[in-house]
Symmetry: D2
Subunit: 304 residues, 4 copies
């Protein structure tokens, strides 16, 4: 794993403390604080701080909707109501800060989520470590033949071995040359901000990443989805487990309405209604394109 | 003041508790938690939750700049460096959530700051209280005669009395009619979402408002400034005092570099250099417009 | 209607011109430029500028997805694909700027959409006009008895007459007093930034509002929805018609996938699958709450 | 240069057209439309679309400030006033869309500006081209010895040759292996989304980037600054030239108040006042740290 002895000692020290606070405390989240959850071969996710809990979501909603919300019997019911009706602002009232170590090509996807705060380790100032993501053999997938984007079958035998060998050798050679270029022994030493350009996209970087719960759910819906690239999905899945312990009601509602739900178009809803009325609906009389129809059948669980 | 007995009891209950947490704790901020700071005649600001402290700002900066930042001896020096060089992301790593009660015309200015999270009391669902902002006599100012925007001298005598009388009478009459329209006694009762349109802009609303420290500083720079309208400035000033207790180093740097500082244009810097070199610089040879020149003299403390 | 003769003349002058450009031009949108679409009794929406068209959305998508997107035969199919799979960034590549005149209580809802640029008429600097929204009799609705938020039946007879009379009289009296307070004849005159607090929430304001197409669709989905308050919905509907002429393919996809579509939860999808398999699904065995079940039946078009 | 013959032909075709529009047209910007401005060895910046001009900024400001702004005689004066007083919203009313080709390590800095819209070429779907940034000899700088971040003297002789050789050889080898891994001849072929991880950070990517003028100025202030890394600064400088032709008054005001200006702290302003009053101010009696004092002397043009 990727933690240095110094980091382990620091985490132990942080977890040994404990002070009094009047703020909302989530016991499930306190148990995660500072601990590193391992992801990929050298990466991790750990919670550095958080604000709010399930009750804080309800408290904010009750400011907005006043006595109206009191008719909902309990917090769980209110949270499900808010999620179902796309009331996003109460979920924005919770905030979380993570420390994440991740390969640069994963970081490049991740950063596209703009509604977050980021402090990334700077390779202009500092020297990157010799740590590269090398896929485990079972994740060394071929290009999908039916999908421009996805992955197909796992590579096997000589091809798999060749790929792993290339990835390792190139990463190490690139790092050797990075070190050689910035070295100041017997030479001036290339500027770090330039030397980093020689490093491949599977080198690890790290950052502090802070986001509110509404935007985190949006991130998780896209990145914990099975269409997401495996290497970012495992981070999203690790975060899902943490969020489930932090705000159990909100996470359960998210799972039901977002992760496990689906949006049907007007055409698709019309088909469902016709099917429920006993009509035989086919691709031809559905009004959908081939791709839409295939996705629709998958959603309603029909065999093709 | 504006707190109901129920609210006071709730605040007492919240302050009586206290739980263990492993998170960063700001003692100065714990002392503020939940307490209502009175603003205007019925308004208040109170802290509901917070994340981070001065050390959290430095910790985030050190992730970014790595060993480079260790050369700065201490947290105070590092925070001053970050503020001076407009490094905004470490300040974004702190977050705060306020409960604010404020007149609607103040809320309309406030909401223009878009990088915040808001849950406002909804007059579609709930009934607004009969509470209106009526200026204290010393804040009943005339339109400025030298400035399209600002205020001039305080109104006096009969004019002041007339204005106060009109504000009070119109507010109360509007509220009487609001109640009469929504009443369901002996009639259907107008929808709340419609009846609210009869209420004037000095009626009080309330909201939860959550923002990161960087964006809060931006808000404070604009709204605690002496050009800001008095009625929003008093809220900003109340928040300034809270922030000074929460993150003392960051607030001190903010005061020095932002609140007390000034931006000089290229032309203005050129004038300063010429003046320091002994040249007599006048409006005519400054290259500035009349307005710029007047503002420049104020910044460098020169008599006009 | 609300346009002054000066405004009409200005619009005529703007429409009389016409210059050459190399940019993407949407003929449907050129026909709307500057023209005021009347909304409510004194409000309007008019297009001041726009950037992009349906082809610009596809062009941006093709930068992202490269040759992969060429397999989609045409622009319409590609746009439907992007909308179906929540690819938001290509829609962000179109932008539109409106001039809107609207009552303040509508403006307060509208401004909650933070991802837009706004320049609002300032009542600190300038004097507001004597224009108030007074509902037409057929929109004078009672508070809903089944819904904390919505409207019920239309008020009738004496009650309706009384409400209209109160709204008109209070608005005019408030405006008379606003004028009296700021008047500088024989007195100092109250500052405008203070006097405005006497004006009710149905007075009209105006602003320039600029937003990208993705965020505009989000606004329209919420505000053109039948749950939205009537007074903002009519603005959203006016904008829908304009957008349909600006980017016909994107708007048609939006109508099918967003406005006419619905999101089903995991539980709801499970119910659909069971119903299609011939099972009798009831509220009791659905796993849903009373409210969810009622909404579910409405979505699948079942009778209650 | 980096344009393919197909791209050149496409640009020629786009520039040959021209249609009538009623929108605001900036003649200076029309001359730039679609044309590629070369940056670095294979990069470029080109304008794809724009909205607004200097007059549009003033028009938006006049909506906000009403008749108040008419006292400012002309557009140039009004724009200078808005820039001086940090009125950002009128500048947000202009928008521009660029097509940029740039090395990935530059893209990683660039994307940190979150208030923009981006569509980037996807290496999950598509194959990247064999194009790498290799610094010109005069930009092959050593690590600065006085600054953790910056660059020092240019590398010379054998060291420079060695660095260039390493950068070229590693980039080409990495690309050879990228091609070998994704090849489907005689093997399955590694998924593109995985193979890309072998490519170094100096490979070129491209994107569409859309931003409003206010946020663009913020980007340019940071990235056209002499502290910015050379490889992103040249892009910012190319954009500066384009913006100067698009909105000449706004750009001139930006140059005077932002690029050429400086922010002085309360302490620094106090020193200026004391110096102008004839007092001898030194580092010791300035109240500043060593670093602040050095920067202060540079701003006021004093010799050290």
């Amino acid at each position: 794993m990727s933690l240095t002895p110094e980091q382990r000692a620091e985490i132990e020290a942080q977890r040994a403390g404990g002070e009094q606070t009047l703020r909302a405390v989530s016991p499930g989240m306190e148990a995660h604080l500072y601990r590193a959850h391992e992801v990929l071969d050298h990466g991790f996710v750990r919670v550095i701080d958080y604000m709010g809990d399930d009750a804080a979501i309800c408290q904010a909603a009750r400011v907005s909707y006043g006595k109206g919300t009191k008719s909902v019997q309990n917090d769980e019911g209110l949270i499900r109501y808010l999620m179902r009706h796309w009331h996003s602002t109460p979920f924005e009232m919770c905030e979380v800060k993570f420390h994440v170590k991740l390969p640069i090509f994963v970081a490049r996807q991740w950063i596209r989520h703009r509604t977050a705060n980021v402090n990334e380790y700077s390779a202009r100032y500092s020297i990157l470590d010799r740590e590269f993501y090398i896929p485990a053999p079972e994740h060394l997938a071929a290009q999908s033949v039916i999908n421009n984007q996805g992955r197909g079958a796992v590579l096997e035998g000589a091809e798999a071995a060749r790929v792993l060998e290339l990835l390792k050798a190139d990463a190490n050679r690139a790092y050797d040359h990075y070190e050689a270029m910035i070295s100041q022994e017997g030479q001036q030493g290339l500027a770090r901000e330039l030397a980093r350009m020689n490093l491949p996209a599977n080198i690890y970087t790290q950052w502090y990443w802070k986001i509110d719960l509404h935007n985190l759910f949006h991130f998780l819906r896209l990145r914990a989805d099975h269409h997401a690239q495996y290497e970012i999905r495992v981070y999203a899945e690790a975060i899902c487990k943490i969020v489930a312990d932090w705000v159990p009601f909100a996470y359960a509602a998210f799972e039901d309405y977002r992760m496990g739900g689906a949006t049907l178009s007007a055409r698709a809803l019309d088909c469902v209604r016709r099917m429920l009325a006993g009509e035989e609906v086919t691709e031809e009389n559905s009004g959908m394109s081939k791709g839409e129809w295939r996705e629709f059948l998958a959603v309603i669980g029909a065999k093709r």
